[in-house]
Symmetry: C2
Subunit: 410 residues, 2 copies
């Protein structure tokens, strides 16, 4: 167990992605689908528009009848009917005829253009004066937006409000989505106390249960919080029995080099370790393996480290299990310039917390001053993690990649 070679973050991420199960799918009502991930391609059930229809309120007529029409020399047409949306005009528009038409209404047979109502005057005796030529471009063509049978939303897409609207417009009342991964979370540590209780000297409040539950919820997992255990091997065994059938066990704490790091002992003793230690800072002691069939990701106990390892590694596992086709947070980077120095670590990739400024010349990233992995406050003030290659310092003005956090913390 001594000083194993630390894995590169990208290799650790690859192992988590490969190890993620296929969760199967379920069908949910569209109104319950926000944030879920599409499990199949979604094809349109209709043409949209279903028929040639009017882009505006006005008059449908023959373009040829309005050539050269203007305020001083309007085209005078006979008004033969009206076509509100959803109630098509049944007849045919002949030469010299017009139909009052409303936005979205079917353009009657015979008509091939629209004059907006603002460019018209209705006259007595069922006549209308049109003050400009009818435009064919104001007829929206059948299927110009959606064609029946064509796929417009692809498997692996996370459903946001625009995608949900589009699914509705295609005629889907429900959609197939990936089942939520079930994740049990176990925080450990003798010195850790639930918020809301009194603190004894030397104790700290457990922030990891709250932050990791929220990160899991934001990632689309069904989260189960196990009762916290101290640095006691027997209690850890008992707690794990309560995890039941989940897709991933997340632990926080107990994975370092210390004598009381029980999660490490358990996984090395009774499980199969895939890796221990990742060449990243914060987050170095991350541990991954299986207890029987159960994948176990051991996050460090430090509040910032546990969040960063969640974003880099747990999200890779969860996103893969959900079949998401967009990149997981660690790979979803933007180019920026350093606004402050960023100091690299000798053998580890740095993922320091940064604040972003959006300027005319692009994105500028400033390192937050306290990068201690115990300082959760800086996480709540950060917009992004910067990516600092091992062994490199980055000077102000130099290029630096950043991982924006907002979408991932939700």
């Amino acid at each position: 167990m001594d000083a194993p070679r630390a894995l590169a973050p990208l290799d650790a991420l690859g192992i988590l992605q490969q190890d993620a199960p296929n969760l199967g799918s379920e069908r949910v009502e569209l109104v319950d689908a926000l944030g879920r991930v599409l499990a199949d391609d979604l094809a349109s059930l209709c043409d949209h528009p279903g028929v040639d229809n009017s882009a505006l309120d006005g008059y449908a007529c023959r373009v040829a009848d309005t050539a050269g029409a203007r305020e001083a020399a309007p085209a005078r047409l006979r008004l033969v009917g009206e076509a509100p949306a959803g109630r098509p005009y049944a007849g045919r528009v002949g030469p010299g005829e017009a139909v009052r038409i409303f936005t979205g209404a079917a353009v009657p047979d015979g008509a091939d253009g629209i004059v907006p109502v603002e460019a018209s005057r209705e006259r007595e005796g069922g006549r209308v004066e049109l003050l400009q030529p009818a435009r064919a471009a104001d007829v929206r063509r059948r299927a110009q937006d959606l064609a029946d049978g064509q796929v417009y939303l692809h498997r692996g897409r996370r459903l946001d409000a625009a995608a949900i609207g589009l699914a509705g417009g295609m005629g889907h009342a429900s959609v197939p989505v990936a089942r939520r991964p079930r994740v049990a979370l176990l925080t450990t540590g003798d010195e850790v106390v639930d918020p809301g209780r009194p603190l004894q000297p030397g104790q700290v409040y457990d922030s990891n249960a709250a932050s990791l539950m929220a990160l899991g919820q934001a990632a689309g997992a069904a989260m189960l919080l196990l009762p916290r255990v101290g640095d006691d091997a027997a209690a850890l065994d008992r707690a794990l029995e309560q995890a039941g059938s989940v897709d991933l066990l997340l632990t926080s704490g107990g994975v370092s080099m210390g004598r009381y790091d029980r999660v490490r002992d358990l996984l090395f003793g009774q499980g199969a370790v895939r890796f221990w230690k990742v060449a990243m800072k914060p987050g170095g002691p991350a541990l991954y393996g299986r207890l029987g069939e159960l994948p176990v990701l051991g996050l460090p106990g430090n509040p910032v480290s546990s969040m960063v390892v969640f974003l880099v590694l747990a999200r890779a596992f969860l996103d893969a299990a959900l079949g998401r086709t967009d990149p997981p947070p660690y790979l979803d980077r933007r180019p920026a310039r350093a606004g402050t120095p960023f100091r690299g670590a000798a053998l580890k990739e740095g993922l320091p917390r940064a604040r972003l400024t959006y300027g005319e010349q692009g994105l500028v990233a400033a390192a937050l001053t306290n990068q201690s992995s115990g300082v959760l406050r800086s996480m709540s003030e950060a917009d992004a993690l910067a990516v600092v290659p091992a062994g490199r310092d980055i000077a102000p003005g130099e290029a630096i990649d950043v991982i924006p956090l907002a979408g991932h913390l939700r």
Copy 2:
């Protein structure tokens, strides 16, 4: 009702913000607080760290006892005990003494520095050799992260995973949050059919119910979907009776200049109109007023227009009702460069859909090709709305502001 002067979007937004009610607050468990908005400032209930403690696993001792220590000339100290996290060493570290210490454990009285375990050798007879000088910087000072009584999260902050973790670290098991605004949604139109049913010629699927419910959920509202009504004034009256006691009624459709625009007729006939028509495209026919005490925001029926007016105006109302201190979407802009031409409208501010590219030189926005407000597909392909001032065309390479969509569609 003819051709009223259209309001500037910013003025319309200001009216919605001013009209938003104060919803009061409720207390929720931290684990249920994701996405809620803090209703009060939150002060820490503890110092963090609560005591001076060790930043690493190693040995706590007196710095003076390790001056000049190195591999070839270690400092030899007497090991007098150990201090695991949460179980402080009870005694005092005297000259020539060291205590084995673990990350997060209280630094014993008398000790003022730490030597990492990697730079040590334990020897027989209760002695330890330290191969480098102890560092005072590896003692984390009491309250260096959080000071008891100090506010670290402010009223109006939307709670993401980092803020929730911080609230837990401050000792809060539950937090005061703004009550969710209750929003009733009514979609209208004779030609509109629920997804999942067969379409008749001239009919279209209702995408607005789905997209607006999702936008409301993403905004943190408690959404109530009313049964849809056709272009029939009596049915509209009946539907509104079902809205009951809500904070906002959203309608879609029925606000244009047409003869069958019933929402407009209702609000002008029985309500008090604050504005009708906003100088924006899409979204021009937006209508706002009150029916009795009930605020009513009439969105256009076009799928894209209704989403854009939701983001610009409904979000201003909802964000203000929630007391959010971050800017609503319309004001949350980034500077970019145009990657394609953006054509302005004569008297309206354009909010066309765009795709963003993050390059070394900053953000580039490309207009999506079909900007018809009926084309929902483009909304699902867009990253942002661009802001094109009225009467101006923007050429490739020119500066343009964009409103990123991701966080608002969720």
